[in-house]
């Protein structure tokens, strides 16, 4: 293990953090339990939530600390209570710790004090809990519906255990059920962006309130494509099967999600993964980063009409796709990662293949960067556009290149070394400007780093087994798994259950933490830049919008509002 990794993963360092929290809130802490190597769960009363979470997240010394994920669970079958757990990660090369602040909420009084006022980063989490579990965050600034479709009836909470995953409540789409968008500020016009818009690769609605071309304020509506993955994962898939749906949460960061899930289960089930498997996982993750970043850079060019850059980026990206295909048998959904290891080994000839491709990649990409950065019009469009201040990035707990472009210096690969990263050396590029150009540069530099990481991994890759046998996973153990997806940290929270099934599975894609900060980045820019800014966030809608049981067919039915089609699609969804 490398020196830097040893320093971060040092027991004493970790203890320090936990102890400080315990000392600060002494008797108000009900229990402290270490549920995994780097994860502690601290149980408190719901009244103390804002204070405790706020204290840790806004701690003056722990600079890059942030709210990683938050999961609500319906634990009534177990304890007759709902539970909430806020997972906070300590970042910034200071120590590898995840703190889970857990609290229970009685069934008869499903309310809790909102954390959002002290830390906006909790904004979406708490709205989502309200939608899916009916737990009311009190004092939340924006209690509008977030996840459920507009015509979903009140009082039906899909993630409660008494809601079967095939249920589909009666819904009709009327004017009353329209989404309560904010009224435009005085003297502004509305510039709706999406859900059907050429420059948005996936549906999402951004309501720009504009003065002429200038964006004054932004309102948004997402979650057009909920696929009920969590519900399905909890109800009808086995641990192993979940891996494959996890991989399909997102079209781009498949490995990241599969890996996060696998690591979560491994942490919960205390499964040791063979070292070679860890290396292979690392290589896969980096390959994914390569093609994802190139895709994003290409799209950025496309959105400002610079098609040469767009086409070249995709041409170069094709090498990576081809590589992925040769290594795993598929361009995107690799089917590589599985609980306990990986499914395919790297044989020698593939190894040389990788090395050749990387060589080509490096020089061609370097050419691309030079060409693009020497295009004055490109720079003109990107420089000083869509600035996200460090403060905002921190406020909203933003992650990934989006946050690193604004000077936030953290990266799950370095701060919570998973897979084989602890054995490797790499830099984490950070830019302070916070504009689109900064993000592009971060991505470009990360591509170079990834190439370097893969090369190291190939050199140092040990021999041996690639899959660990595992028999039984003890029920009702909680853990989070985390990876640095191309777009930032992916966190999967699992609570194991009986009968080879999960009890609760909470997916947090990186975009989920980035989206809420988008309005801050957009304000004051012009309509022309809106699309570019969205692209520079590199949004992954489908990752973000996985929750709740609504089939795509059904969504379409809602839009068309045709009864029979709804009926038909209900049948379809039953068949699933």
């Amino acid at each position: 293990m490398k020196e830097w990794a040893r320093r971060i993963m040092d027991e004493k360092v970790r203890e320090k953090y936990v102890n400080e929290v315990v000392e600060k809130f002494g008797d108000r802490i009900i229990s402290v339990e270490r549920n995994a190597d780097n994860q502690w769960i601290i149980e408190i009363n719901r009244e103390d939530l804002p204070e405790v979470v706020g204290y840790i997240v806004n701690h003056p010394e722990w600079k890059e600390t942030q709210l990683s994920t938050m999961a609500g669970a319906d634990e009534r079958p177990l304890r007759g209570k709902f539970s909430l757990i806020y997972w906070i990660s300590i970042n910034g090369a200071s120590g590898d710790v995840f703190l889970g602040i857990k609290t229970y909420i009685p069934e008869d009084d499903p309310r809790f004090p909102a954390v959002t006022p002290v830390h906006p980063g909790a904004h979406w989490y708490e709205r989502e809990v309200k939608d899916l579990l009916g737990l009311i965050p009190e004092g939340h600034p924006d209690p509008r519906r977030l996840v459920l479709p507009d015509d979903w009836p009140e009082g039906v909470y899909p993630l409660r255990k008494d809601f079967h995953y095939t249920d589909s409540p009666k819904r009709e789409f009327t004017d009353e059920t329209k989404y309560p968008y904010r009224e435009p500020p005085k003297g502004t016009a509305v510039f709706p962006l999406g859900p059907y818009h050429v420059a948005l690769d996936e549906p999402g609605h951004f309501r720009l309130f504009v003065k002429g071309e200038e964006i004054v304020d932004v309102d948004y509506r997402l979650f057009y494509q909920h696929r009920g993955i969590e519900k399905i994962g909890e109800n009808r898939l086995t641990y192993d099967q979940v891996n494959f749906i996890a991989e399909r949460i997102c079209g781009i960061c498949g490995t990241a999600h599969a890996l996060a899930y696998a690591q979560a289960v491994e942490a919960a089930g205390k499964i040791e993964v063979p070292e070679r498997a860890e290396y292979i996982r690392t290589v896969m993750a980096e390959i994914e980063r390569l093609h994802s970043h190139m895709l994003n850079l290409g799209l950025a060019c496309h959105d400002i009409g610079f098609d040469k850059g767009f086409m070249d980026a995709f041409r170069i990206r094709e090498h990576v796709m081809w590589l992925a295909e040769r290594l795993t048998g598929n361009r995107k959904t690799y089917g590589m990662v599985i609980i306990g290891g990986v499914r395919r080994d790297f044989l020698e000839y593939r190894r040389t293949m990788i090395e050749e491709t990387l060589r080509k990649l490096r020089e061609e990409f370097q050419k691309w960067v030079d060409q693009t950065l020497s295009t004055r019009t490109f720079i003109k469009r990107c420089e000083g556009v869509g600035v996200l201040s460090y403060r905002d990035a921190k406020r909203w707990s933003s992650v990934g290149p989006w946050a690193r472009g604004s000077g936030r210096n953290f990266d799950a690969r370095r701060d919570h070394p998973f897979a084989a990263y602890k054995y490797l050396d790499f830099k984490v590029p950070v830019h302070k400007e916070g504009d689109v150009l900064a993000r592009c540069l971060v991505r470009a530099e990360e591509i170079m780093e990834s190439i370097w990481i893969i090369e190291q991994a190939l050199d140092e890759m040990p021999g041996g087994d690639i899959l660990a046998e595992w028999k039984e996973i003890p029920p009702y153990r909680e853990a989070v798994g985390f990876t640095e997806a191309p777009r930032g940290e992916d966190v999967h929270y699992v609570m194991t259950g009986e009968g080879n099934r999960l009890y609760r599975w909470r997916i947090r894609a990186s975009t989920y933490n980035n989206f809420p900060s988008l309005p801050d980045a957009m304000r004051g820019n012009t309509v022309a830049d809106a699309v570019l800014i969205i692209a520079s966030l590199d949004p992954c809608y489908s990752c973000t919008e996985r929750v709740q049981v609504v089939d795509l067919e059904e969504k379409r039915a809602r839009v068309l509002t045709e009864k029979e089609l709804i009926e038909l699609s209900r049948k379809v969804s039953r068949r699933v």
């Binding site: 040769r326 795993t328 959904t333 089917g335």
Partner: protein, 165 residues
């Protein structure tokens, strides 16, 4: 020079590692249903009909996610990932493959068992030599569970008689 191709007019070869759509080789399939259990997407179904004594293994490529779990699970290598990726069609039924096998019938009571004849044969094939008395085993194994139990009980009674008598 252009790197793109005039695709539909030029043939594209997928690499050897490619996971295309799966295909069941009916001659090899023994209808054990291991693939059906492994499939995360319910692309494979096992449909038994005890009245006619048939078992259908149904593969719907339309639901397949190309994870190749079936490939790993199959004991006889009957189901394999091909390198074919062009699945576009006007008729969904083109996506469905059905393998129909006969269920084993108990020579004694005449009921159908819940495993196929081929599965039985396979079981005999992979049996290591010289462990058991083949004939004896075969006599027993071809019976259905109930008959086998009955036979065992009868034999015991027979034996005890001999002991008593």
């Amino acid at each position: 020079m252009a790197v793109t191709l005039k695709y539909p007019f030029v043939k594209l070869e997928a690499p050897p590692e490619y996971r295309g759509i799966p295909h069941i080789e009916p001659r090899l399939c023994i209808g054990c249903g291991a693939c059906v259990n492994a499939c995360p997407a319910d692309a494979l179904l096992k449909i038994d009909d005890h009245s006619t004594g048939t078992r259908k293994i149904v593969l719907d490529v339309g639901r397949c996610i190309r994870c190749a779990r079936c490939d790993e699970a199959c004991p006889t290598g009957a189901i394999r990932m091909t390198r074919n990726f062009e699945v576009a069609t006007l008729d969904r039924s083109d996506h469905v493959e059905v393998v129909e096998l006969r269920l084993h019938r108990c020579p004694n009571c005449g009921n159908y068992t819940d495993y196929t004849e081929r599965a039985l044969e396979k079981a005999f094939q992979i049996l290591p030599e010289g462990l058991f008395d083949k004939e004896e085993l075969r006599k027993k194994a071809i019976l259905c569970r109930n008959c086998r139990r009955k036979l065992t009980v009868d034999d015991t009674i027979e034996a005890s008689r001999e002991v008593v008598g």
